[in-house]
Amino acid sequence: MVEDKLSIGNYTFTNRLFTGTGKFASKSLIPEMLNACGSQMITVALRRVDFASKTENILDYIPKEVTLLPNTSGARNEHEAVRIARIAREAGCGDLIKIEVITDMKYLLPDNHATLLATEILAKEGFTVLPYVSPDLPLARRLEEAGAAAVMPLGAPIGSNRGLETKAMIEILIENCQIPIIVDAGIGKPSQASAAMEMGADAVLVNTAISSAEDPVTMGRAFSLAVEAGRMAYLAKMREETKTAVASSPLTGFLS
C-alpha cells in the first residue's frame, strides 16, 4: 500500500492520532505517551504565568519533532481567540492554531459563529486554522470558504468520553467537505476512534481519554493502534451489513 499521508495546510502527517497535553497526572508522562503512540501533533494552551507556583514549561516535555497545535482555550469570543492566536504565533510555535471559543461552561460547546469569524480573520493572516465546532454542514462550508485548513467537529462534550454522539452529522461533513475532518472531543474509547476513522474521518484528536486513563502511556498506544486500524479498514473497504447470515463454512450438511 502506497504511504497514506494526511496533509493539513502545509503540514503532512503519517500518524492520524492527534493528542493533547491536558490533565496528565505528571507532565513526564507526556513524552512517554508520545513515544508510545507516535502522535505527530499535540495541543497546548496559553495562560498568564503564575508567579506563585513556578510551573515548568510544558514545551520542555514535547519532543522537537512533534508539531505543536496551540489552542485558543479561554477565549470567550472571536476577538480573544484572534489575540491568543497571534500571541501563540509570536511565541514561535508556528502558524497552526486550533480555534476554540467557548461560552457555555457546563458542556463546553463551541460557539460556531464566533469560531467562523475568528477563522476568517486568522486565515487571512496566514494561520493554518483548525476550528473546533459542533458538526454543521452549512457552517463547515463557510469555514472552507474562509480558508480553514480542516474542520474539527466534536463527537461529544469535551472530556465526557461519551463517544460519537454526533455521528450522523459528522458523516455528512465527511461526505460533503473538501478539507480534512478531524473528530475532536468526546472520544472515550479506542473503538470509538476506530469507528470515526472507518466512516472516513481524516484524523481524531484525543486528550482526556488518554491523560485520565489509569495507564496513559498504554492508552495512548491503544488509541494509535485503533486509529490505524480504522483507517486501514476504510481503505480496505468493508462489506455492508446483511440482515440474514452469510455462511463462512459450506452450507451443505457434513455428508451431503
Binding site: 496528565f24 496559553l46 510551573t55 514549561n57 482555550s73 500571541i87
Partner: protein, 65 residues
C-alpha cells in the same frame, strides 16, 4: 516605580524588560510578553526600558486539549 504585571500592580526599580523577567526568576524560553498591549519579540526585550505605569502580560504555555 509602579507597573502593572498580569493584572496586578507591582513596584520595581527601572530596568529593561529582560532584566525584569530575570528578576521574576523566569527563563525567557517559552514566555511571551505583551508590553502595553503590543506583543514584543524576545530579541527586543533587552532594549525595552520599563516605564512608570507600563502594562505587562507575561504568558506561557500550559497543558490543554
Amino acid at each position: 516605580m509602579k507597573i502593572n504585571v498580569n493584572g496586578k500592580a507591582e513596584e520595581t526599580a527601572p530596568c529593561s524588560l529582560l532584566d525584569f523577567i530575570h528578576q521574576k526568576g523566569l527563563s525567557p524560553e517559552g514566555i511571551v510578553v505583551e508590553h502595553n498591549h503590543n506583543i514584543v519579540k524576545r530579541k527586543t526585550w533587552q532594549d525595552i526600558q520599563l516605564q512608570e505605569n507600563d502594562n505587562l502580560e507575561l504568558l506561557s504555555f500550559v497543558g490543554g486539549g
